[in-house]
Subunit: 123 residues, 2 copies
DNA sequence: CCCGATGTTCAATAGTTCTTGAACTAATTG
DNA sequence: CAATTAGTTCAAGAACTATTGAACATCGGG
């Protein structure tokens, strides 16, 4: 379980799979949250998304996001860090990711998305 | 059956539904075909898509495209004309439709999309 | 070495989606 | 009015999706 899971190559990334992945509210929220703080850090750890659903359900959605090429997973000790594959996506589908993020931001309330600097609860 | 079917208002158009709609290969092909000849005519009639699938399956996909706000259907005698709701989509999700069309065009072969001036078979 | 934390995997379930063909409706044409 | 054309609606089936909880694996720390 400790090895890095498989990722598609850039060329293997398929538009319908990407769109389907982004069409699920939980996965869209994950991608949005990653994009919102890309300028702070490109990575978040899986646990940072625990507010969105149960852990096993999140693992399912992480796998989907990884398999369709939207995210990369890095194993570090007992944690896994995920990040958007922005370079690959921008090369493959120019403007798509940004258009989705921007559109999601416009509907953040309706989509129950966490805006930047929110949702980081002090312990 | 003859009345114009219901369409969502611009504000009712939801991002996840739009992305989900576009993630189906047949629906993506429909949208792509409409976009490819938007500069010739904004409308096509349902029968122009018969190459993509059977009629009842197309009716199912047309309904989905209409219900999510991607297309508008106009009834004219025994025909129905469909067109992209470009103004509404661009207002709601700026750049999204164009990014999807451009991305689809790049993968036209892989996605089995009909390029412009193709698929118009003389009788 | 055992504990707790982090995440994954598995099995089961409820619900959804796509596809097909047959029956239907509605307008047009002879 | 009968026949044709265009497209929808309905019912049924196969396949897939999301969600849940329980069991499991792995790492790091006392």
């Amino acid at each position: 379980m400790s090895r890095t899971p498989p990722h598609p190559t850039r060329e293997q990334i398929e538009l319908p799979m990407v769109l389907d992945c982004l069409s699920d509210p939980i996965r869209l929220a994950i991608v949005y949250q990653l994009a919102q703080q890309e300028h702070v850090s490109s990575e978040l750890c899986c646990g940072d998304f625990n507010a969105l659903s149960g852990k096993s359900n999140l693992a399912y959605h992480f796998a989907k996001l990884r398999e369709c090429g939207l995210m990369q997973t890095r194993v570090a000790g007992t944690n896994r860090f995920v990040r958007l594959r922005r370079e690959d996506l921008d090369a493959r589908f120019p403007g798509l990711l940004d258009a989705v993020i921007t559109s999601a931001a416009k509907d953040a309330d309706r989509l129950h998305l966490v805006s930047e600097c929110e949702g980081v609860k002090a312990d």
